[in-house]
Amino acid sequence: METTAVKKYTFKDFASDQEVRWCPGCDDYVILRSMQKALPEMGVKKEEVVFISGIGCSSRFPYYMNTYGMHSIHGRAPGIASGVKLANPNLSVWVMTGDGDAMAIGGNHFIHVLRRNIDLNIVLFNNEIYGLTKGQFSPTSLVGQKTKSSPYGNTQPPFSPGELALGAQARFFARIGGNNPKEMSNIFVEAHKFKGTSLIEVLQNCVIFNDGCFTNITDKAVKEDKQIFLEDGKPMIFGKDRNKGLVLNGLKLEVVTIGENGITEDDILVHNAKEKDPTLHQMLVRLEYPIATGIIRSYNDVTLEEREDALTAQVKANSNFKKTDDLFFSGETYEVK
């Protein structure tokens, strides 16, 4: 590929001419705008960006982006995106999906795409409900949650997307509130830079069918006390007064207060997102108080394309077959006169 300078874009360059049709007040607007703002920061050409989606509210996303895109079928976006990336590794490929699309109908593809580590980016809009089919419980809905398909309360325990992803060997996992456009944009940029499959879970409010599902975590008034925003290399400190921190107590993470019981900042765990061993990342993902946000895991590993490219180069170097004729006329042929 020729390398020409990438034009300096603004977010407007990435907005398509289509009218956005999400419900007023939906966090999806925040995700859209954060993405449109992140793309000019990535240094990628507009024609080399591809958004692939499945089915659901989240999956209307590609229509609103002035890039290449495909709104495909329910749950299969990871498969389609894998094909796009393997066909042309120069592309920046994004999967836009929801909790139902990724973890119910598309659960199999979701775990396998993470396992393979193709250089894709997956944005998971988690609103713990089915929106487009008008309000049934999803694989992340809580037990007891009353929905159209669980009028007496949901009896199916939920997945934690991060836990599932790390179990499927995700190398990059980030979580961010749906009302935090600034950090969301930054995470999108980091995900783009990361070589391998990156998964970003957005805690996305559905104003119609599950309004306020994350309010107690993401609301401005409580956000700093209820969330710990993790940054690689920095101590795990949170709270309005920046005096709460995480320490390891046996096999559990524990919240401590700096300045109490002889605890100093030096006692607080330092976040290492790049660590290969996912044990601590798993604990952070499972933590109920505070909720871990930011880039929880970012472990650099060989990508599938790198393995494939190396093998292909090796096979090509050792092969006498340059053209198909070399193969067709090779080996056990015989002449009829």
């Binding site: 709104h71 094909g83 199999n108 067709f328 009829v336 006169k337």
Partner: protein, 619 residues
Amino acid sequence: MVTAKTKHQPEILEAVVIRFVGDSGDGMQLTGTQFSDTSAMFGNDIATFPNYPSEIRAPQGSLYGVSGFQVHIGSVEISTPGDNVDLLVAMNPAGLKTNLHAVKPGHTIIIDTDAFTKKNLEKAQYQTNPLEDGSLENYRVIEVAMSSLTKEALKDVEGLDNKSITRSKNMFALGMVYWMYDRSTQHTIDFFNKKFKSKPNIIEANTKVLNAGFYFAETLELIPNAYTITPAKMASGTYRIIMGNTATAWGFLAAAEKSGLELFLGSYPITPATDILHELVKHKHFGVKAFQAEDEIAGIASAIGASFAGDLAITTTSGPGLALKGEALGLAMMVELPLVVVNVQRGGPSTGLPTKTEQSDLLQALYGRNGESPVIVIAASTPANCFNYAYQAAKLALEHMTPVILLTDGYIANGSAPWKVKSVSEMPEIKNNIVKDVTENWHPYDRNEESLARNWAIPGTPGLEHRIGGLEKDKVTGNVSYVPENHEYMTNIRAEKVKRVQNYIPNLETEFAETGDLLVIGWGGTYGSLHSAVKQLNEEEGYKNIGFAHFNYINPLPKNTEEILTKFKKIVVCELNNGQFSKVLKMNFNGFEFLQYNKVQGLPFGNTELIEKFKQLVK
């Protein structure tokens, strides 16, 4: 290498059918392949038919664990592996029991007597030993203690365990058959040398046993004479023996090279289609990207993604897999991307008969999707022409911007035959609809006026950024549209695009008679059986006016189909299903009576049954 020292000239035969049967671990497939390859190189026309159980290693000696390989060789044109067997080689009682019915009375059976133990007879559910109870009186039985003779031949070879010794007894049988049919052992010895390069004792053992079998046959009084089948008259050129699945894979390799696109395969293993995946993964040297996905759906999904990104994309499967791919195939049709789906049909429904053949996915291929979703459907008809139809499927997909389903079946996919090797330079041009330049008012669904193919703007092309999807789109802009009239217009134009493919495919041809009393119709993998039956009848007095028309293009049908139908008094449609193609013909052509001949046994048509049926119809 050893050569025969028969006193008399071998008797010349026109054609012969040989079947090797034994346990699924006895190496019958290898034995059969060696014999057929040797015969092909000698210049015979050949057709082969492997028949094996779906269990990898079924319990030893059991009736359902019998593995067989049939080969038909001739100095004349051979178009089927043959029905009835001239020589049966039975390595155990179960093999004899399950295959005896196929042996022509008076013909030869070679038996490994060492395998006819009490235990094996019981496993084969024989009450009495067929070698002793007179039940084989009508055959010429050659009893050979093959296992003991093999052991004896190998007593001086060092470093062999019992298993390796027992395993090589198939080579004893092969050696005998080589002598009987006046064949050289050289090709097989070359094969040993190549295959077991790093194991000289295995080369030595196999060569010894092969030669021992050969000499044994020569000195055995039970075999009165040897036979030979002289070379067949075939068009001159370079040939090789090719299996249908390999030919399919190679057709795509050729199409990729000719079109200048990279080949992408997204696939999930399924019998009997997996060999296409096995073949294509080898060819990284041509830049082939073969992706084994987590399931059938991800297989086709990745292919759709690769097609969107500008590759020649294919996915391979068999019946149950096609069912799983249905929704994604509808997407490919809706977004109008080029894609080839290969369905190597097997016995259905559900899991059905995975290793057996059938043609019962035709209606699934035509209609197995939600909504109005026509795709091109074509079918290969011989092991060798799988190459041509795979190539043609890729060409049609790329030139018409639509998915194409290529139907083959277990019979032609696993069968092998001589293939006159095609150079890519001999193959027809493949155009594509890739658009590179930005023009004013460009839209992703702008169409070629003649073919109605939409243009193909590939990610990475500046200025052509666009979105496609499974929702209905506006006929001009390609944006999502729910306008009722627009949906009807788009539905019709997608159908019309596929229908117009008629203008780009060859006319239907008739063989043997252009007009007459009976038209025999077939499609896909039954070509060989139907062709040879009609040919045989045409050589008899009183059956000269039976014509034969075989379809490779199912959707759309060739333009001249109706014209051909009008030229015959009776029409019989022969299929390995309960009448799916005859339904298609009935829907398309009024005023004809389509008689049917159907078989759903997981087996190909037999010659005798077809001839009987056709004779009865023209009486």
